[in-house]
């Protein structure tokens, strides 16, 4: 068995239902994402299109994160899922340096690396990943790519003519188990589109100041008088609060 994911970008309408379902199911802290939907506008007005690309861990068969992890916190499950054992992780961030898809984040609450596990806990109980269940248009297709009769295998076979099924960064030879239908260079290549600082639709935060707890080190614990415990609420107060104040002083609504 080899579990894989396919997203039909022709169906995705950018509702972010999967993103929210993932956040809730896995209690992903604020400022961190296991799954996110990126909006990319292509073309010049009036000939413009808005494209939506859900991005998550690719569960590569040749995963660089598994290779670099010094303590095997990142490991393969028998069903092909690249899983993470947070209790073993030392927080070296080597996996964040290795993952070509930027799919791994440092959890600010546990100070360990974390990422999409295809909802391994749900699959163990015979359920589908939460993002699959939440998708209103069934753009997320999940299943066993080793089984030729599974929905995902049939979907791949149906669409693979003329390069209709793509993966991200195939040149990295990571053999991703996450496929896209209806994607193109602009939607799947992060360097093919421009990121204009401060002009995003609903926010103007384009770079995080720090990933994980900014006071994580031993020195901070001695000098700073203790380790800061972050929760969704404290992060919201700190990050969103300061942004709101800044926004208000700039005359925002």
């Amino acid at each position: 068995m080899k579990l894989g994911f396919l997203v039909d970008l022709n169906l995705c309408m950018g509702c972010k239902g999967c993103e929210i379902a993932c956040k809730v199911e896995n209690e992903v802290p604020l400022s961190s994402w296991r799954l996110r939907v990126k909006y990319i506008d292509v073309g010049t007005f009036p000939q413009t299109t808005r494209n939506f690309t859900p991005l998550r861990c690719n569960h590569c068969e040749n995963a660089p994160c598994v290779r670099i992890c010094p303590v095997s916190a990142l490991h393969y499950l028998e069903n092909g899922i690249v899983n993470i054992d947070s209790n073993r992780c030392i927080g070296c961030a080597g996996c964040m340096m290795a993952c070509p898809y930027g799919a791994i984040y440092m959890d600010p609450e546990t100070n360990t690396a974390d990422k999409c596990t295809y909802c391994a806990h749900r699959i163990e109980s015979g359920m589908m990943p939460s993002c699959v269940v939440a998708c209103p248009v069934e753009a997320n297709i999940f299943g066993d790519v080793d089984d030729a009769t599974s929905h995902i295998s049939r979907y791949i076979m149906e669409h693979q003519k003329n390069g209709g099924v793509q993966v991200r960064k195939p040149e990295k030879h990571t053999e991703p188990k996450h496929y896209y239908v209806g994607g193109g260079n602009q939607t799947l290549n992060p360097l093919a589109h421009e990121r204009i600082e401060g002009y995003n639709l609903f926010n103007n935060i384009t770079h995080l100041d720090h990933v994980g707890d900014p006071n994580h080190s031993i020195l901070d614990r001695f000098i700073g008088g203790g380790h800061t415990h972050y929760s969704n609420k404290s992060l919201a107060d700190e990050k969103i609060g300061s942004k709101t104040k800044e926004h208000e002083t700039q005359g925002g609504h």
């Binding site: 990126k38 506008d41 660089p64 670099i68 030392i90 964040m96 340096m97 421009e194 770079h207 995080l208």
Partner: protein, 315 residues
């Protein structure tokens, strides 16, 4: 005008999450810099001991391992401090994953530091016979003086992989295209030669002029080759679109352009000319100045090279 309407050239991100900032920051720079000193003084020290009589370099036998010991402890301290879960560092020894260069490096660096501690202890106690005269460990070190020469060749041999393994970590960091070049191995080795020669210059005041000349030569060669390799990356990089995009941060107008050129000029070019002039005339002050700016420049160069690939969006 019409070219601006082509879809292929007009794609803008209109909604996304924030890009993670720099994850491996100044602590990792300091870690690499200190390791270059820690291994470099051993490699260059061995070269000097091979070329010259040790009596002409009176303090090298104890100061060389002592400097290496201090530098390696700085390196290990900041490796530990940079972890988000530093107390779990023990997992590298309890649950090692041998495909990871981080694991292999941690084991080798720990063994290397252990051997260097032994050398520093034997060298230091035999140099200072009156220090801790009743201490059992000190006396054991004095009575096993010959052990120093026995283990020194193994230490020199081990210094090479300890110097190089960081390049393998960078190679395994496959998301960062700039670090994927085989030249990283040579840069690590040259950094160790540069840092080792520059550090030994600072303690070489009482050494014979020929030994200082050798140090100046090593410094000149390592700065010249280091500079040429950086320039090769700067001008000839053809590796990939990601590497090209990364190099824009040090090209004209880039965020790290200033720091990069300060490192190149004051850390590589200036020390090269100063070291060459010191080979002709044995000017201790000039050579010391060259050594200090080379060490500062090396830190800045490593800092830039570490940070710029982390600024790119990966997805």
């Amino acid at each position: 005008m019409v070219e601006h309407t082509i879809e292929a050239t007009k794609a803008v991100v209109t909604l996304d999450v924030a890009i993670p900032g720099i994850i491996w920051g100044w602590m990792i720079t300091l870690n690499m810099w200190a390791k270059s000193i820690g291994t470099g003084v051993i490699l260059i020290g061995a070269f000097l001991l091979y070329r010259h009589n040790k009596e002409t370099m009176p303090n090298i036998r104890w100061l060389m391992p002592l400097i290496s010991f201090v530098a390696l402890n700085v390196f290990l301290l900041f490796t530990l401090v940079d972890l988000h879960q530093p107390l779990r560092m023990i997992n590298i020894f309890l649950h090692p994953h041998w495909s990871s260069a981080i694991t292999v490096g941690a084991w080798m660096a720990s063994l290397f530091t252990g051997l260097i501690t032994l050398l520093a202890l034997i060298g230091g106690m035999n140099e200072h016979q009156d220090f801790q005269r009743h201490c059992k460990v000190a006396n054991w070190a004095r009575s096993n003086n010959e052990l120093y020469e026995k283990i020194f060749p193994y230490v020199v041999f081990l210094a090479i992989p300890v110097t190089l393994y960081t390049a393998v970590i960078m190679a395994q960091s496959s998301a960062r295209e700039l670090w994927q070049a085989p030249t990283e191995l040579m840069q690590m080795l040259l950094a160790a030669f540069l840092a080792g020669s520059a550090t030994l210059i600072l303690i070489a005041d009482d050494w014979e002029a020929e030994a200082r000349k050798d140090l100046a030569l090593v410094l000149a060669i390592s700065t010249a080759f280091g500079f040429m390799m950086y320039m090769g990356e700067y001008f000839f990089s053809y590796k990939s679109a990601e590497a090209e995009e990364t190099l824009k941060y040090i090209h004209s107008g880039g965020t790290y352009s200033g720091e990069f050129w300060v490192a190149m000029i004051f850390g590589f070019l200036a020390p090269f000319f100063l070291a060459v002039s010191s080979i002709k005339e044995d000017n201790k002050t000039t050579l010391r100045f060259a050594a200090i700016i080379a060490l500062v420049g090396l830190y800045l160069a490593k800092d830039v090279w570490l940070k710029i690939p982390q600024l790119l969006p990966l997805s």
